[in-house]
């Protein structure tokens, strides 16, 4: 009897979860109609074609929107295309294009609010204002999506993946380009951001604020207007990310502001105007990062305490470090500096003479930015040398006592 009931229950579930097919020649021709007909657990299969629809609203229905052969939903530059407030839903395989711009409302290709346990994957978003706009939601996964747009200025453009008040989110393998901020987080907790590529955005590749306990790894950020900015967050971990080619008057590989207790490990900063710009950040461990051919590898601007730099590679930067105060409580240890000219008599791999990463010229440029025109001139080399021999202007204890003789990474 028991088994019979179980079988019956299972069977009834099977019946409940039906599939609704949408296509131009089907009985159901619009996605909106399909959504209104669907029940919990249903799948809506959208076949190839162009659907000109906006405001597809899914409320409290755990349904799965599945696109077959890339159906296109054209928002015709009006409003948000899909709005969801539901648990256990998924949207995959769709191509959403043409979301309208607005100065007062945040129109998005997919807006998710107050939802839990959802998956958004394999979607392509083009010409959008906001791409994915996710608010007050938890346990979501955003996987393998492509978001692109043609943002022109900051005022009339939106963000690719925008999250607000979320937790336990996973953002993986997405490609975001041509928006204002590629990935934007505000008040997001316990989330993982990995393997994404964010490029050619007019402001930041990644931008987050007030987002504690997040992990970022293996992401690539390049050619963004101002690089990556992270602010006012605690306990974040950044590993194996690549920040490169952020050249410009106010560009950074990574801008850190008011970040506490973070770990920055194994990242690569290549050819940025400023590799990492650090403001008011304390207790951050920088380990095994690579700084290659940046203008400034590191720029400290005040209020930074107890940061530890260990086993980083500083390779061919115009300036390794710029520091604007006489006080220092940051520690540099066992880093490799390509400008190091010391020797290692006992052959233990550690240079016998300490290295001073702050050159006099970088101190001068800090005070008078125009002096930068004298970069690499003979006179500057001479004053740098004299400062190296007898430091007067740079903090006494700002040294790497044990510089490495060989690179950490090969």
């Amino acid at each position: 009897m028991k088994y019979l009931v179980l079988i019956f229950v299972l069977f009834s579930f099977e019946i409940q979860a039906s599939t609704i097919t949408v296509c131009k020649s089907c009985k159901i021709k619009t996605i909106k109609e399909a959504v209104s007909l669907s029940k919990d657990g249903d799948s809506i299969l959208i076949k190839k074609g162009i659907y000109k629809e906006q405001s597809i609203i899914i409320i409290n229905k755990s349904i799965h929107l599945i696109g077959e052969n890339n159906p296109i939903i054209d928002g015709e530059f009006k409003e948000t295309i899909i709005k969801v407030t539901a648990n256990n839903f998924s949207i995959e395989g769709l191509t959403l294009i043409n979301v309208g711009q607005s100065y007062t409302k945040d129109f998005a290709a997919i807006l998710v609010s107050r939802s839990k346990h959802f998956v958004l994957k394999n979607n392509t978003l083009k010409n959008v204002f906001f791409g994915f706009l996710i608010e007050k939601s938890h346990y979501g996964t955003i996987l393998n999506n492509k978001v692109s747009s043609h943002a022109e200025n900051e005022a009339n453009s939106g963000n690719g993946i925008h999250m607000w008040h979320c937790s336990h989110m996973k953002v993986e393998n997405n490609k975001v380009s041509g928006l204002r901020d590629g990935i934007y987080f505000e008040f997001v907790k316990n989330s993982t951001i990995s393997n994404n590529i964010s490029e050619n955005n007019i402001r930041y590749g990644l931008h987050f604020m007030f987002s504690n306990n997040n992990t970022y790894f293996k992401n690539e950020f390049k050619h963004n207007g101002a690089g990556v900015a992270v602010m006012f967050s605690k306990y974040i971990i950044m590993r194996e990310n690549v920040f490169h080619y952020n050249w410009g008057m106010a560009s950074y590989g990574l801008l850190l502001k008011e970040i506490y207790d973070a770990q920055i490990e194994n990242n690569t900063f290549e050819q940025n105007t400023i590799g990492i710009n650090v403001e008011n950040c304390s207790r951050i461990d920088y380990t095994k990062n690579k700084f290659i051919r940046n203008g400034w590898a590191l720029k400290f601007s005040g209020g930074c305490y107890k940061n530890i730099f260990k086993q980083n590679d500083f390779l061919y930067n115009a300036f390794d470090l710029s520091y604007n105060s006489q006080l220092n409580s940051n520690r540099f240890e066992n880093n490799y500096w390509s400008d190091y000219t010391g020797y290692d008599l006992n052959k233990d791999g550690i240079g016998d003479v300490p290295y001073r990463p702050v050159k006099l010229f970088s101190y001068i440029v800090n005070r008078t930015p125009e002096a930068l025109v004298l970069l690499r001139s003979l006179f500057v080399e001479i004053i740098n040398f004299s400062e190296k021999v007898a430091p007067v202007f740079t903090p006494d204890n700002l040294i790497d006592k044990k510089p490495l003789m060989k690179k950490v990474h090969d």
Binding site: W247, G248, M249, S251, Q271, T273, R293, G295, Y316, A318, I364, R367, T368, P369, E370, A371, L372, V373, L374, L375, R376, S377, L378, F379, V380, I382
Partner: protein, 260 residues
Amino acid sequence: MLKILKYSFFDLMRSRWSYVYFIFYLALGFVLLFLNNDLNKAVITLMNIIIVLTPLIGTIFGVMYYYNSKEFTELLLAQPIKRNTIFMGQYVGIALSLTLSLVLGLGIPFVLYGLFRSTAIFDFSLLLVVGSFLNFIFVALSYNIALSTDNKIKGFGYAILMWLFLAVIYDGIFLISLLLFNDYPLDKFSLIATMLNPIDLSRILILLKLDISALLGYTGAVFRSFFGTSLGMVVSLLLLSLWVILPVFRMNRKLRKKDF
């Protein structure tokens, strides 16, 4: 003039110093490329050497050649040849032979290491162009000094002083004035001050072609909008040519009145 040019040129080409100079650049090129195979990085290192060394060598060679061949020059002057033909021939001869040493000395190792297949070819050719300009400029300047001073030691002293001034002291004064007038807008000033010194101008020209150009943009829109464009490039090259033309012009004027 061509005959005299040819004579000075081959005279210098046969001389030991030309070979030393040529071999120095050859060795430098090979060692640099041997130490790091990256052409781009080698170009940066070369720039540091070229903007200091080329002017120095040009200056010394110019003065030395003038004083050494003074007797022969006086002999030539006794012939029915125009004065400026003789000196222009000598001048072009020296500058050309130095340039040849530079171009061949650096060119051979770079070509062997695959310059034509590299993206650095434009930077490298700019480096050679700038190096050649510096040769012509400093040989002209040193010839001017030598023509104005009959005393050999004094002439050498002035020539070295001129090099020291343009390569080091000028930048020192420039930097100090930047620091002193910190409160004023300095963009235009630094732009003009850079352009007035051929060594600084060459340095900036090469730096701009390397990735550091964006770094310069930091100092202000003036620099970026000027040096960043092809107009800036043209103006800079024109200024370098002016640095050749003006000393040569003065040389010719000086010649006319000089009593040998």
